[in-house]
């Protein structure tokens, strides 16, 4: 059923009794051409684009829990394409373009909201780094503006310009950046994929990968064995666990990242803002909650929850940036398990096992990548060659010394 004002009105008259399920809940078939492990944003987007762009149909997405229970359902919803390195920026810009047409494309309002992403800087060195980044964006036609302190103050007069420890010197603004209603992205892709014949299967955990003669032939799951010709991993924070089923060791560690939401407020902050002198970023949801976060807790973790020191660390920075936020209350905190790669950039590649594909290493930035990740991964799976904007996301880049290290932190995942 296509969603529209008319379908909504029509259903209102019948007491909303006639809505159909947004997706079927099928039992797994014995065999698929392609199985995607992980019903998060990337897995669902991959299925969607495989069906839509490549006309493939016999596909299943296997999700161990409920749909969108992973990081797609717990991120702070920021989208932007303000990356530094040539291996990254064109990919994220493709993603931005896909976001811009996404809702009409999959007929689901995911509330793509280009309210602007502003990164504050507090030192000359930071400003120089932003100038480098901003020009890297502009050189490729991506929008970027370098603001001085005055311009930031015009936008956000209630930030700390009076008594700051680290004065705000300006910021890098990408107006096309913004936020998207995270859950709706999973739902929209799931519905879109479902309509194109994909089986979206919840409560189906992949527990083993069957390999014969160096080639993937199927998976063992909590709902029995399923055969497949190609197997595409999309397990985000659980990538290492799933890859180990095929005997692969990844350049990835799993870390917990916390996020927070405040009580609902009348409009308080218009765009997305990141503090440059501490770990804090914030935006306001369409419901009115301030959605904010900061840094990883710092230790390897598969528990989706963090501890108080990081809460304090993040909130201290929040109050340093916006003194008025002090009397606002934090409503809820939660955590997600991040697939932190060794250089902070993702991997979309084939593996040494024939028919086994890998999509991982998104760190805490993979939400914005969802459409492009699905798009490029689908391309790789369908054609066995990388999409042209995703050629740098190779697994052998570490071996070859071609890291994509935006932050220059080196092989220390919790510093990316």
């Amino acid at each position: 059923m296509k969603y529209s004002v008319f379908s909504l009105l029509k259903n209102a008259f019948s007491g909303h009794k006639n809505w159909q399920a947004a997706w079927r809940n099928p039992d797994p078939k014995p065999e698929y051409d392609i199985i995607i492990v992980g019903g998060g944003g990337h897995g669902l987007a991959t299925a969607y684009y495989l069906a839509k762009e490549h006309g493939l149909k016999n596909i299943a997405v296997l999700e161990k829990s409920w749909l969108g229970s992973g990081n797609i359902g717990r991120n702070t919803t920021i989208i932007r394409s303000n990356y530094l390195l040539p291996g990254n920026n064109p990919f994220y810009e493709l993603s931005m373009k896909l976001w811009e047409g996404l809702e009409q494309d999959f007929n689901f309002n995911a509330m793509v909201s280009q309210r602007g992403v502003l990164n504050l800087c507090h030192t000359d060195a930071q400003r120089d780094a932003f100038a480098r980044r901003g020009n890297g964006m502009r050189i490729d036609g991506v929008d970027a503006e370098l603001l001085d302190a005055h311009a930031v103050r015009e936008m956000y007069p209630y930030f700390d310009f009076e008594n700051p420890r680290f004065p705000i010197k300006g910021g890098l603004l990408q107006r096309r950046g913004g936020t998207v209603r995270h859950d709706a992205v999973a739902w929209g892709f799931a519905r879109g994929a479902n309509m194109r014949g994909v089986d979206v299967i919840q409560g189906c955990e992949v527990q083993g990968i069957t390999i014969e003669n160096g080639k993937v032939v199927g998976v063992q799951t909590s709902r029995g064995s399923i055969k497949c010709k190609k197997l595409a991993l999309c397990a985000a924070g659980h990538s290492s666990e799933v890859a180990s089923m095929a005997g692969l060791k990844l350049p990835i560690e799993s870390h917990v990242l916390q996020a927070f939401v405040s009580e609902g407020l009348k409009p308080f902050i218009d765009g997305v803002v990141t503090f440059g002198a501490g770990h804090f970023y914030v935006s306001q949801s369409d419901k009115g909650g301030l959605v904010f976060g900061g840094d990883l807790d710092g230790y390897n973790s598969y528990a989706r929850r963090g501890n108080l020191p990081m809460v304090e660390h993040v909130v201290e920075a929040g109050v340093a940036m916006i003194p008025a936020i002090s009397r606002v209350r934090t409503l809820r905190s939660w955590g997600g398990v991040m697939d932190m790669s060794m250089d902070g950039s993702p991997i979309i590649d084939k593996t040494s096992v024939h028919g086994l594909y890998l999509n991982a290493g998104w760190c805490y930035g993979g939400f914005k990548a969802t459409p492009a990740s699905g798009f490029c991964y689908a391309h790789l799976i369908a054609k066995d060659e990388p999409h042209k904007v995703a050629t740098a996301y190779r697994l052998d880049r570490f071996r070859r010394g071609l890291m994509l290290d935006e932050k220059g932190q080196g092989a220390t995942p919790n510093l990316h």
């Binding site: 290492s240 350049p251 990835i252 560690e253 799993s254 973790s301 919790n414």
Partner: protein, 90 residues
């Protein structure tokens, strides 16, 4: 999370800095043929869910590097031993 520093006693997690897997061993060979070992050492991680031995520094305390055994699924901390002492053992 509390970590029982062998030198300082039990202290909360904010006094510690985590570096990661303590089971990896730095290769000694400088031959190009050892590159895979180096690659493994610098970049590849088992990243298990469950018990995990990791390098942790008591950076906000005695500054000793420790090998902490902890469950990455539950955050339960089992032990903390000075890295120095750990290495001294054969």
């Amino acid at each position: 999370m509390l970590i029982p520093c062998p030198h300082c006693g039990t202290r909360p997690v904010e006094e510690f800095t985590f570096l990661g897997d303590a089971t990896v061993i730095r290769p000694t060979s400088l031959e190009p043929s050892s590159m895979d070992d180096w690659m493994d050492y610098v970049y590849l991680r088992d990243n298990p869910r469950g018990n995990y031995a990791e390098y942790v520094q008591h950076s906000g305390g005695c500054r000793a590097w420790l090998v902490v055994t902890r469950n990455t699924g539950t955050h339960e901390v089992h032990s903390a031993v000075a890295a120095k002492a750990m290495k001294a053992k054969p």
